[in-house]
């Protein structure tokens, strides 16, 4: 059953990977208009994964606002379910795109001895925190009559920088523990907890996508629907993270089994922990530096 689940998961993710291929040399003329004195030619290359992802996000956002407006006018349950379905899909597509601290969670899955259960739980914790911190921020800014447009961005940057500092600290903690702990038990205890701490730290940064949906729903006067949509979006984000992190764990397990015999599995595990924590420190420092200097 577990194998079947993994295979299904792998198939789903690999089917997405087809979108990554980018043929730089393939060009097609979309439109050519030749008049007496003008000529308009449009040449567009095969779109990259990120370009496709961005267009999908834009289209889903348009559908979200359209269904919210529709729901406001007729309060139909059918429209509500469609809206929640779109929000769920938006969560998936939105989190496949850049950001959301995926790299931190992946580095922890790579470097820690975690199980699928911990991956599912930490992904859910992250996604709901990420969305609900956005909602909380909107509520605070609204109560304080502050600008949502400007202040939410400022607050997000501050929260993000605090997260990076804590993640760097966590990276050092795990690294030092892996190097200096005397017993294997000491080295591997609380590794699942590290994944949770990472999930909480990155989840603490509000998600601008959910902020925008929350503000839109608030403006339309459909507060509870807005809340449900943000939760549906969080579920979509969790889905992507569970898929990505499960795949990481699956690949790691395959690699470990291929490379190691019973004798050096422990050594490989230790090296993985050192790599994972070093990634946390390096990426945290890089992100913090980028954020402070931009």
């Amino acid at each position: 059953m577990k194998r079947l689940f993994l295979l299904a998961l792998l198939f789903f993710i690999i089917s997405l990977s087809g979108q990554f291929s980018r043929e730089f040399n393939t060009r097609r003329d979309l439109e050519t208009q030749v008049g007496e004195e003008k000529q308009v030619t449009q040449q567009v290359s095969e779109k990259s994964f990120l370009e496709k992802n961005t267009e999908q996000q834009r289209d889903l956002r348009q559908n979200i606002s359209k269904t919210l407006r529709e729901f406001k006018s007729n309060r139909s349950k059918k429209v509500l379910f469609i809206a929640l379905g779109i929000a769920f899909l938006y969560g998936i597509v939105h989190s496949i795109g850049p950001g959301h601290g995926k790299v931190f969670l992946v580095s922890q899955v790579l470097g820690s001895e975690v199980k699928y259960g911990a991956i599912i739980a930490s992904s859910l914790v992250f996604a709901f925190l990420h969305s609900l911190s956005g909602l909380t921020l909107v509520a605070i800014l609204k109560v304080m009559s502050m600008s949502l447009f400007r202040e939410s961005a400022k607050f997000s940057i501050i929260a993000q920088n605090i997260s990076f500092v804590i993640l760097i600290g966590l990276g050092f903690f795990i690294l030092l523990k892996a190097i200096f702990s005397k017993t294997e038990e000491q080295k591997h205890t609380h590794q699942g907890r590290n994944l949770f701490v990472t999930a909480i730290m990155i989840g603490f940064v509000p998600c601008p996508g959910s902020i925008i949906i929350a503000v839109y729903a608030m403006k339309m006067g459909v507060y509870s629907t807005g809340l449900l949509m943000v939760l549906a979006m969080a579920l979509g984000m969790a889905f992507t993270l569970i898929a990505l992190n499960s795949l990481t764990l699956f690949v790691k397990s395959m690699a470990t089994l291929t490379l190691a015999n019973q004798g050096n599995i422990k050594r490989i595990s230790r090296v993985m922990t050192i790599i994972g924590s070093s990634l946390l420190i390096l990426l945290g420092s890089l992100f913090l530096f980028t954020s402070l200097t931009s």
């Binding site: 792998l10 993710i13 690999i14 990977s17 990554f20 730089f24 979309l30 439109e31 004195e37 003008k38 000529q39 308009v40 030619t41 449009q42 040449q43 567009v44 290359s45 990259s48 994964f49 990120l50 370009e51 961005t54 996000q57 834009r58 956002r61 348009q62 979200i64 606002s65 496949i96 795109g97 850049p98 950001g99 959301h100 995926k102 790299v103 992946v106 580095s107 600008s147 949502l148 447009f149 400007r150 993000q160 601008p208 925008i212 949906i213 503000v215 839109y216 403006k219 990505l244 795949l247 990481t248 699956f250 690949v251 395959m254 990426l283 890089l286 992100f287 980028t290 954020s291 931009s294």
Partner: protein
């Protein structure tokens, strides 16, 4: 083994996406008008039409009397808030005339309007311009390198050239790979206007 390699590639690509810590949260369609009828000046008029969610946030912040329109006093507040940021980002516009990069310090006639539920910004870029060569080439790219805003140039219907009768032109729209950004995953659409004058 193929699945294994593909999986590693996928994990790397999906997680590395986070490196620049940004993803588009604002979407805007871009229309560009080239006005060649002004004496010694090229006017490039841009209209950025935001998507409905972004439009609603702009109205939420600046439409203080909640009439769904940005009135003159609200416009002043919006301008004071938005223009310094736009200036810092060079109005998200690269302008190259005959292979020379033009640095823009100011924009003119900045207005904000609404079209149905959508909010748009409209402004002019003015550049000294003398049509002395037999051919002039003007290239415009509108894009946000940090990818916080995704601009979509409306190549099908959003490009217009206002000109005198003695000027012929051709417009080309293509991806400029040399300006790739965001780890080379995105390239801006470049609009190339080539002008020829009748003798």
């Amino acid at each position: 083994m193929k699945i294994f390699k593909k999986s590693i590639l996928l994990i790397l690509l999906l997680s590395i996406n986070g490196i620049l810590l940004a993803h588009p949260h604002l979407f805007a369609g871009v229309d560009i008008d080239y006005d060649l009828t002004k004496q010694d000046t090229l006017v490039i008029r841009q209209r950025w039409m935001f998507d409905d969610l972004t439009s609603m946030i702009i109205l939420e912040d600046f439409d203080s009397n909640c009439d769904e329109v940005i009135c003159p006093s609200e416009l002043e507040e919006l301008k004071s808030c938005v223009i310094p940021g736009l200036k810092e980002k060079r109005f998200y516009t690269d302008l190259v005339i005959n292979d020379k990069l033009i640095i823009m310090d100011e924009i003119y006639n900045f207005t904000v309007g609404t079209d149905d539920i959508y909010v748009y910004y409209k402004f002019d870029i003015k550049v000294p311009f003398n049509f002395t060569e037999s051919q002039e080439v003007i290239k415009v790219n509108v894009y946000d390198r940090e990818f916080y805003t995704k601009f979509f140039v409306n190549a099908d219907s959003g490009l217009k050239v206002i000109k005198t009768d003695d000027i012929n032109y051709s417009l080309e729209v293509y991806e400029n790979k040399e300006k790739s950004y965001y780890l080379g995953q995105l390239s801006p659409l470049e609009v190339k206007l080539t002008l020829n004058k009748d003798n």
